[in-house]
């Protein structure tokens, strides 16, 4: 298993602004997943991008994947206070379980 490393560790923005967080990993993957965790709750799956995809959208979320740089980014457009949470990336490949890094803590200020 490999763990993604999210950057920045913390991000604070105003409501309505866009939030971008990044994920780097070390070895080749089959896919990469992003999860959100509200304080004290379980993780919620947001989006899965496969290694042959470069960009994927879901509502206000846009995920990019650059396999040559071994990195991914998650963009949340027009952020809302309800987007305040921790965000985790999880590189996936082979028959190994998903592992998580420390995440990015996003604070959206109303």
């Amino acid at each position: 298993s490999q763990q993604g490393e999210e950057d920045p560790q913390a991000l604070s923005i105003q409501e309505g602004e866009n939030a971008t967080m990044n994920c780097s990993y070390k070895t080749s993957i089959n896919n990469l997943q992003w999860y959100r965790q509200n304080s004290g709750r379980g993780l919620v799956h947001l989006i899965l991008i496969r290694s042959n995809e470069r960009e994927k959208h879901s509502g206000r979320l846009r995920v990019t994947l650059d396999t040559s740089k071994k990195s991914s980014s998650l963009l949340i457009t027009a952020s809302r206070a309800a987007d305040t949470a921790s965000y985790f990336c999880a590189p996936g490949g082979g028959n190994t379980p998903l592992v998580f890094g420390k995440g990015t803590r996003l604070s959206v200020i109303a």
Binding site: N31, R41, G42, L43, G92, G93, P97, F100
Partner: protein, 113 residues
């Protein structure tokens, strides 16, 4: 359709005691994974169960053990509790298949005093 349910939601134990946490997976899911999340950290993989067997294990001591039942529900047992075992324990289920998205329960908050 119920998602992943965990019980209890909160638990307080004394150092040296034993604890059992329970998880019911989402309907249609047969694989259960357990994670430990300390305050301010990301979830750490403990182990994964499929077909009633432990298939994968993270870097956790033998004090951590588990079980999966024929109905796919699962238990996590921790013996000889240490103060450092205080954490949020998350159960996640998924259908069979490599790197399928995980569905998480809301966890059991364990406090060891």
């Amino acid at each position: 359709d119920a998602g992943v349910t965990q019980s209890p939601t909160h638990l307080i134990k004394t150092r040296g005691q034993q604890v059992t946490l329970r998880c019911s997976p989402k309907s249609g899911h047969d694989t259960v994974s357990w994670y430990q999340q300390a305050l301010g950290q990301g979830p750490q993989f403990i182990f994964q169960y499929y077909e009633e067997e432990e298939r994968q294990r993270g870097n956790f001591p033998d004090r951590f053990s588990g079980h999966q039942f024929p109905n796919y529900s699962s238990e996590l047992n921790v013996n000889a509790l240490l103060l450092g075992d205080s954490a949020l324990y998350l159960c996640a289920s998924s259908p069979t298949g490599t790197n399928s998205p995980l569905h998480f329960g809301n966890g059991t908050r364990l406090t060891v005093t």
